[in-house]
């Protein structure tokens, strides 16, 4: 079978020192959250210092993958057009994870089904062999 697109043309996250474990976790279909080793405070996005206790030691723990829909948008006008024209409408959301951090993501359902604070769960989307995006769907 010939792929319809020869390469993935959407923005690809450039993993860095702080974020590499997060993206690698996604690749393994695990939603990992960075937690402070000293005070156990979870944080997202990943960063070098705990904003609660200023420790620079951290560990990675598996999140439950469940959360609530804090807010969402439905993109109907594609920007850039050449990349997203075939994708609209799509839903971008902020999800409050059970662990107490908020993450930006997509919700994989029709916009009409969305309501504020509805429970959602992670679903991993292998968009390329190297990249897996954590999207969410309504909790069944």
């Amino acid at each position: 079978m010939i792929p319809t697109k020869l390469h993935y043309d959407k923005p690809v996250p450039i993993a860095d020192f702080d974020s590499a474990p997060f993206w690698e976790g996604c690749r393994q279909h695990r939603l990992l959250l960075q937690c402070c080793t000293a005070c156990d405070h979870p944080r997202f996005p990943p960063s070098g210092m705990c904003p609660r206790c200023r420790s620079m030691q951290s560990k990675w723990v598996a999140a439950s993958g469940r959360g609530r829909l804090y807010s969402w948008i439905v993109v109907r006008h594609p920007i850039p057009r050449e990349i997203y024209a075939g994708e609209v409408p799509y839903v971008v959301a902020l999800v409050d994870l059970e662990e107490g951090v908020r993450i930006a993501t997509n919700i994989t359902c029709v916009p009409e089904d969305l309501t504020g604070d509805m429970p959602v769960e992670v679903v991993f989307d292998d968009v390329t062999p190297e990249l897996t995006l954590p999207r969410f769907r309504p909790l069944r």
Partner: protein, 385 residues
């Protein structure tokens, strides 16, 4: 807290035409607006030794403007890597620099070819490094998409409606019909707003500000010197800049922001009103940063013109209309006059307080508010005549 109440003033203002295509360079726009502000003030160019601006997206360096104007010895010539959040901040730092002896007379400007040149709405870096790696891969890229996310939460929490947002657009357009500088002067109805293309739900096209080419400038000097110049001084009564915790890693990022129904205005309100010695009830006219209709709702609530969650109703009840309780964006705002990154709000407030706003003049306006910024950080001024 800002402790320079009435010690500094705006002594001159100037601008260029606002258009879709200036046909000239950003530097020429900046120079024209600055020269017009100096002429308006009636000040000798040689007395100007400060130039301040902010330059998120298109701009020119302050030293280039100082050079182009032929200033003999510029000292405080600086710019902030900031967006609309700095549109009022630069007047504050202009006054602070004079207070500190770093300058004497300071030009503040904003210039951009925001439509024909670098278009801010065109999308951010798609190679998603840094904080962008957590947003762009999900197709979350433009500023309308960023702000729509804030707006939805207000709708979820308070039941704010698209029609209420539409009233913001309709009222500002009505104001723009009285403003010959405004780029959009054809009246619109609520039905027009509702029928306009859905760009990023909940935002229709008419919830989103213009993209413009143009420049605005203002001269800040001490109250004493301002009194010797040509125009009636417009005093800086109160001022504040800041925001809450977790302002983010850049102007787009608000992932860690505690509550998307409230922007920076909630956090600077106390300092602003205390520094000015007046409150919301004393404001005769307000120029509130309106890159999107929704930011006006947050500004009204954050600064105490109505309780949290009541902004939609305040607008719906005619509260921001020209004839209403609080005339807002009498020039048409970023939504209908032009997008000069919020600096055009400062010029409008000065004109209102001078009493020279012509057909859009608010009767007996003595005290004006301006705000600058939409999201996690921003600035505001209380001006008086």
């Amino acid at each position: 807290m800002w402790n320079l109440r009435n010690k500094y003033a705006v002594a001159g203002i100037g601008c260029t035409n606002f258009s879709n295509n200036s046909g000239t360079t950003v530097l020429n726009l900046a120079l024209e607006a600055c020269r017009n502000a100096l002429t308006d003030a009636g000040i000798d160019v040689k007395a100007v030794d400060g130039v301040v601006s902010y330059h998120f997206n298109d701009s020119v360096p302050s030293i280039a403007v100082a050079t182009g104007l032929g200033l003999p010895q510029p000292r405080y010539a600086v710019e902030f890597l900031a967006g609309g959040n700095a549109a009022n901040l630069i007047l504050q730092t202009a006054a602070a620099s004079i207070e500190a002896g770093m300058a004497t007379n300071v030009l503040c400007f904003r210039a951009l070819n925001g439509r024909s040149g670098f278009r801010l709405g065109g999308g951010r870096e798609l190679n998603s490094r840094g904080i962008t790696q957590y947003t762009a891969p999900f197709g979350w890229i433009t500023y309308p998409q960023a702000m729509a996310m804030w707006c939805r939460r207000h709708m979820v929490k308070y039941g704010t409606t698209s029609e209420q947002l539409g009233r913001v657009a309709v009222e500002f357009r009505k104001n723009a019909t009285r403003n010959e500088r405004a780029m959009m002067r054809k009246p619109i109805t609520l039905a027009d707003h509702q029928a306009s293309r859905m760009i990023v739900d909940p935002f229709h096209l008419l919830d989103i500000c213009l993209e413009s080419d143009g420049a605005c400038a203002a001269l800040v000097t001490s109250a004493e010197r301002a009194r010797d110049l040509r125009q009636k001084p417009i005093y800086i009564l109160g001022a504040a800049y800041g925001g809450g915790p977790n302002q983010g890693d850049d102007l787009f990022d608000a992932i860690r922001w505690p509550d998307h129904t409230q922007n920076f205005t909630k956090y600077i309100a106390n300092e602003l009103w205390s520094s000015a010695g007046v409150g919301p009830a004393d404001i005769d006219v307000a120029e509130i940063y309106d890159c999107f209709t929704y930011t006006v709702i947050m500004g009204l609530e954050g600064l105490g013109f109505c309780p949290p969650g009541e902004g939609g109703r305040f607008v719906e009840d005619g509260g921001i209309a020209f004839e209403g309780k609080l005339p807002v964006n009498t020039h048409g705002g970023l939504l209908s006059e032009a997008y000069i990154h919020g600096f055009n709000h400062v010029l409008e407030a000065v004109e209102q307080l001078r009493g020279t706003a012509g057909p859009r003049q608010v009767a007996d306006a003595e005290t004006a508010l301006t705000t600058a910024g939409a999201m996690t950080c921003g600035s505001a001024l209380v001006l008086r005549n």
